[in-house]
C-alpha cells in the first residue's frame, strides 16, 4: 500500500500524441484528496486523454506521476482497483438489467457480497422498482446515475468523471452534482471534466486546458483574478453595431453578448480604456465595470492560446 499523502493526483510533464499530433503537452497537475477538481476545456483539448492517462488506459509518451500514490506507468493494476472511471460514452451493458450491471461490477472488483451491495446501490440511486429494467431503456439522466453508481460501488478513493452530465437535463444535472458533493464529503476525491460554467463554479478547484496545455488552475476566484482581465458591462440599444465596431480593435481582447448586455474585456486596462473611450461619450450606451465571468476568462484564454499554438 502506498503512503497515504494528502495528494491524490500528482503528475508532471505528461505528453501524449497520436499519429504525430500532440494531444496533451507537458501537463502537470496536483489534486488534493477530498476535493472536487473541475477539468475544463473545449472539445478536443485533451481532457479525455489526460483522464485516460491518469487511470492507466493510455501510456504517456513522456512525463511521470502518481495517482493515489501508485505510479501511473507501472502500477496501473493497483490504480484500477482504487479508481472509479466513468467514461464519456455510456459504457455499461445495455442488454443487462440495472441489477445485473451492478452485480457484474461488484463481482469484477471482488466485493464480498455482490448481490447485497448491488441491492444497496440500487436503493441509494433511487432505482428501486427498476432493478430489472434493461440499461438501454433508461433515460439519459438515469443512465448517468447508474454509471456513477457502478463507479462508486467498489468504494474507490478517486473518481474520474469524463463529461458525466453531457446531454442531461438541468434537474438531473443538479441531482448528479449534489451526489458528487455528498461523495466528496465522505472523503472521495473527484476529478470531473465538463463544458458547463455553472458546474465549474461548483468545484473546489478548477483547471483549464486548451490545445493540450493546462493554461490555468486554482479556485474559481483565483482563476478570475489571475486572468488580469478588465471587463465592462455595456447596456443600451443596438449593441450588435457596437460589437462589430469594437471587435478586433487594439486593446480589446474579447467582446461577447451576454443576454441583453455586452461584455467587453481586455488584458491591459489602459489600452482597453483608450479603445472604448470614443464609445463612452454619448448617452447611447450605459457602461459599467464588472467582474469578468469564468466564461470570459476561459474564452479569452482560449483565444490567446490559439494565437500561440496555431
Amino acid at each position: 500500500m502506498a503512503v497515504q499523502s494528502d495528494i491524490a493526483i500528482d503528475v508532471h510533464g505528461l505528453t501524449k500524441s497520436f499519429d504525430g499530433r500532440v494531444v496533451v503537452r507537458d501537463l502537470s497537475m496536483q489534486v488534493k484528496r477530498g476535493t472536487i477538481y473541475g477539468f475544463l476545456g473545449p472539445n478536443g483539448s485533451g481532457k479525455t486523454t489526460t483522464i485516460r492517462m491518469l487511470c492507466g488506459l493510455l501510456t504517456p509518451d513522456s512525463g511521470e506521476g502518481t495517482c493515489l500514490g501508485y505510479d501511473i506507468r507501472t502500477e496501473a493494476d493497483e490504480i484500477k482497483r482504487h479508481v472509479g472511471y466513468m467514461t464519456q460514452r455510456f459504457s455499461l451493458y445495455q442488454d443487462l438489467s440495472v441489477r445485473e450491471n451492478l452485480e457484474f461490477v461488484a463481482r469484477i472488483y471482488g466485493l464480498n457480497a455482490p448481490v447485497k451491495s448491488a441491492k444497496e446501490m440500487i436503493a441509494r440511486l433511487g432505482l428501486t422498482g427498476r432493478e430489472e429494467q434493461l440499461a438501454a431503456q433508461l433515460s439519459g439522466g438515469w443512465k448517468q446515475r447508474l454509471a456513477l453508481g457502478a463507479c462508486t460501488l467498489p468504494s474507490p478513493q478517486l473518481l474520474l468523471l469524463d463529461e458525466p452530465t453531457a446531454g442531461v437535463d438541468p434537474k438531473a444535472r443538479r441531482e448528479f452534482w449534489n451526489e458528487i458533493h455528498a461523495l466528496a464529503n465522505d472523503g472521495l476525491t473527484v476529478l470531473v471534466s465538463t463544458h458547463y460554467m455553472d458546474e465549474a463554479e461548483r468545484c473546489h478547484e478548477i483547471a483549464y486546458i486548451a490545445y493540450g496545455e493546462l493554461l490555468t488552475h486554482g479556485t474559481v476566484e483565483q482563476v478570475v483574478e489571475q486572468s488580469n482581465l478588465t471587463t465592462y458591462n455595456v447596456g443600451g440599444d443596438d449593441l450588435q453595431k457596437l460589437l462589430q465596431a469594437l471587435e478586433g480593435k487594439p486593446g480589446i481582447d474579447m467582446v461577447a453578448p451576454f443576454g441583453a448586455s455586452l461584455h467587453v474585456s481586455g488584458r491591459d486596462e489602459k489600452k482597453l480604456e483608450a479603445a472604448i473611450k470614443p464609445f463612452r461619450d454619448g448617452k447611447k450606451y450605459n457602461w459599467s465595470r464588472a467582474e469578468p465571468s469564468l466564461e470570459d476568462v476561459f474564452i479569452e484564454l482560449m483565444n490567446r492560446s490559439k494565437d500561440n499554438f496555431r
Binding site: 493510455l58 459504457s91 451493458y93
Partner: protein, 380 residues
C-alpha cells in the same frame, strides 16, 4: 407510375449518385472488405482448380506380405501402376494391419497370404485381401474399381504360369467401416465438425469487437480484470453451447440416419470439447485483431472457406496435392473430422488418435497465445 416519374427526374440521379459516391468512399476505406473482394475469388479458384480432386490418386496403402515371392512383387507393382495406390507402409503382422487402418494412417491395406504363389501355380485361384477405409466412400470407390482389372492383367508377362485366359487369383476387397458406402455415414460426423466450426468461430469472433463497438471495453479495461480472465470468461459459456450443438447433431444422426457410434462416447465427448475450445480460441483471436464486428465476420468467413474445402469434409483429403494437405493439417476441422469419423465409424481409441489430439492442442495454444498477446490492455 409515380416511381417511374421519379426515376426520370433529375433529382433522382443526383441523389442516387451522392449515395453511390459515398458507398465507394466507404468501401475504399474498409481495407478488409476490399481484401475480401479480391481474396475470395482467388482463393476459391486456386482451391477448386488445384487442390480439389474428386478421383484422388496416390492414396496411402500398406502391405502385409506373408510370403516373399516374385508373383507378389509383380502384383504389387501393378497395383501401384494404376496410380491410385502408393505403398507407404510395409507391415509385419495382422495386428498392425488393423491398427494402420484404424488410425487412418493408410486408406488401404493389402495382404498377400502365405502360400499364395504355390496356390497360384497350382491354379487354385488364391485370394488377395484388400481392406479399404470406406468412411469416405468418394475417396475409396474409384481406387477399388481400378483394382478389379488388376487380376486380369497383372501377371500377363509372367512366365511359367498356367493358362491365363482366366484370372489366376481373385481380389477380395473389403470396404471396412462403411460396407454399404452410404454417404450419410460419412457426412453426419463431418457435419458435427463443420457446424461447430462455423458457430463457435462466429460467437467468439464477435465477443471482443462487440465490446469495443458498444463502448463497454473502455470501462472493462479500467476495471481490475486481466486479459486471460476476460478470455476464459468469454470462452467457457460457448463450450457448453457447442457441446449442446454437437449432442444434437450426433443424436439426430444416430436416430434418423442410423449412424453408429462404435467407439467410446466419453472419448468423443472429450475430444469434441477440445475441438470446440480450439475453434473458440481461434474466433477469439480474430476478435482481438479485428477492428469491428463486420471485420470479425469477414475473417471468420475467410477462415471457414479453407476449412470446408481442405479438411476432407467435402473432398477426399488424400487426393489433394501435398501443399494443400499441409494447409489442411493446420486447420482444426481436418483433425476433428478424423477424430469424429474414426470414433463413430471405426471405433478407434485414444491411441489411434493421439496425433490429431496433439495437433488440436497445438492449434488451440497458438490461437490463445495470439489472443492474449494481441489483446490491448490499453487504448494506446
Amino acid at each position: 407510375m409515380s416511381w417511374l416519374g421519379r426515376i426520370g427526374s433529375s433529382g433522382f440521379w443526383r441523389r442516387a449518385k451522392a449515395m453511390l459516391v459515398k458507398e465507394f468512399i466507404q468501401l475504399r476505406r474498409d481495407r478488409v472488405s476490399f481484401a475480401m473482394i479480391v481474396m475470395i475469388p482467388i482463393m476459391q479458384l486456386i482451391l477448386f482448380g488445384y487442390a480439389i480432386n474428386t478421383t484422388p490418386r496416390n492414396l496411402p496403402t500398406a502391405v502385409l506380405l506373408q510370403e516373399t515371392s516374385d508373383v507378389g512383387r509383380t502384383i504389387l507393382a501393378a497395383i501401384e501402376r494404376t496410380g491410385y495406390f502408393k505403398i507407404t507402409h510395409r507391415l509385419a503382422s495382422v495386428e498392425e494391419f488393423d491398427r494402420v487402418l484404424a488410425s487412418g494412417e493408410v486408406l488401404f491395406a493389402i495382404e498377400i497370404p502365405a502360400g499364395f504363389e504355390r496356390a497360384l501355380r497350382r491354379g487354385d485361384m488364391p485370394a488377395l485381401l484388400v481392406a479399404a477405409d470406406a468412411t469416405d466412400p468418394v475417396g475409396s470407390s474409384s481406387a477399388l474399381g481400378a483394382l478389379n482389372r488388376i487380376a486380369q492383367v497383372a501377371l500377363i508377362n509372367e512366365r511359367m504360369l498356367p493358362d491365363q485366359t482366366q484370372p489366376l487369383f481373385e481380389i477380395r476387397a473389403h470396404a471396412r467401416y462403411n460396407p454399404a458406402a452410404s454417404s450419410s455415414l460419412n457426412i453426419v460426423p463431418g457435419l458435427v465438425g463443420t457446424i461447430l466450426t462455423m458457430t463457435m468461430l462466429i460467437f467468439t469472433a464477435l465477443s471482443v469487437t462487440r465490446e469495443v463497438e458498444r463502448g463497454t471495453m473502455e470501462s472493462l479495461l479500467s476495471m481490475p480484470i486481466s486479459p486471460l480472465e476476460i478470455m476464459v470468461g468469454k470462452i467457457i459459456p460457448y463450450i457448453m453451447v457447442g457441446f449442446t450443438q454437437a449432442a444434437l447433431i450426433i443424436g439426430f444422426g444416430v436416430l434418423l440416419f442410423g449412424v453408429p457410434i462404435l467407439g467410446s462416447l466419453l472419448l468423443l465427448a472429450l475430444l469434441s470439447t477440445l475441438f470446440i475450445a480450439t475453434n473458440l480460441s481461434i474466433g477469439y483471436s480474430f476478435s482481438t485483431v479485428a477492428q469491428n464486428q463486420l471485420q470479425a465476420i469477414q475473417m471468420t468467413f475467410m477462415f471457414f472457406l479453407p476449412n470446408i474445402l481442405l479438411s476432407g469434409f467435402m473432398f477426399p483429403f488424400a487426393g489433394m496435392p501435398v501443399w494443400a494437405q499441409w494447409v489442411g493439417e493446420a486447420l482444426p476441422l481436418t483433425h476433428y473430422l478424423r477424430i469424429v469419423r474414426s470414433i463413430m465409424l471405426k471405433g478407434s481409441g485414444f491411441i489411434d488418435l493421439q496425433y490429431e489430439v496433439l495437433a488440436l492442442f497445438a492449434l488451440m495454444l497458438v490461437a490463445m497465445t495470439i489472443a492474449v498477446t494481441r489483446f490491448r490492455r490499453t487504448l494506446d
